[in-house]
């Protein structure tokens, strides 16, 4: 159903996430991309919230990283791949981190489970020698 060959990446934007630039750069670029594609406000809000959440995790746990946003098309439908990477300490228990209520910094502990609710696929990997990569795919309703 979702063969990689049928999924074509068309446009990709990336922005560094740093304490000084915060998330404003990636949010501005993402908004411009959504406007150019005439994405409706609700899915745009959901995508921006996912970006914010991933970016917030980068800033809090790693200090800096990068977020990339790619446009996907598959059999006439539009989607997005969001990839957040950092060189921080990684996530000790990835499975637990995706559950609601779990937080490594005493926050609300809802971030990754909320992202999962809003997305079609979430892949979390610890990187070597250290760091985290989170990939989120969200397909939009026609």
């Amino acid at each position: 159903m979702n063969s990689p060959a049928a999924t074509t990446a068309r446009r990709r934007i990336c922005a560094a996430v740093t304490p000084s630039s915060s998330l404003s750069k990636i949010r501005t670029k993402a908004r411009a991309l959504f406007n150019s594609l005439h994405i409706r406000i609700q899915p745009a809000t959901e995508l921006l919230t996912i970006i914010n959440e991933l970016g917030g995790n980068i800033l809090r746990h790693a200090g800096r990283g990068e977020i990339c946003l790619e446009v996907l098309t598959q059999e006439g439908r539009l989607g997005f791949r969001i990839v957040a990477t950092d060189s921080g300490p990684g996530i000790a228990d990835i499975k637990k981190a995706s559950q609601p209520g779990f937080s490594e910094d005493n926050g609300l502990g809802l971030g990754l489970s909320g992202i999962t609710n809003l997305s079609d696929k979430v892949q979390i990997d610890n990187l070597l020698p250290h760091g985290t990569r989170v990939e989120v795919i969200k397909w939009l309703s026609p």
Binding site: Q42, A44, E46, T49, N52, E53, L108, L110, L118
Partner: protein
């Protein structure tokens, strides 16, 4: 420039939050509000969120912290102006903003507080 602004209406304080608010700005806001509330004997604070187009768990956590802080200072708090797409997304994140009173906008919040 701080990503928030405050405005006094007699014994009610209106706080407007901009989307870019971060951990350190919230600290400044808490200190600023603490001084204003005790100096002006503020009985209620309206937190206006109509400029916030994206609300994640971090901002939700900050808002809960702000509300809790103001409750400790015996101020009633009303959160106003949460946009519909933001509210829908918060529901998907299972964020409930506990112990928070809501109003559609600042006008409704003021009517409720008078």
């Amino acid at each position: 420039m701080e990503p928030f602004s405050t405005f006094s209406l007699e014994d009610i304080l209106l706080v407007s939050i901009q989307e870019e608010i971060d951990d350190s700005s919230i600290e400044h806001l808490l200190h600023h509000l603490g001084k204003q509330v005790s100096k002006n004997k503020t009985r209620a604070v309206i937190i206006d969120m109509h400029d916030v187009e994206v609300m994640d768990t971090f901002l939700a956590e900050h808002i809960e912290e702000l509300v809790s802080f103001l409750h400790m200072l015996r101020s009633r708090v009303v959160v106003a102006g949460i946009q519909v797409p933001v509210a829908l997304t918060l529901t998907d994140f299972n964020i409930r903003l506990k112990n928070v009173e809501f109003a559609l906008d600042v006008e409704q919040a003021l009517a409720r507080l008078r």
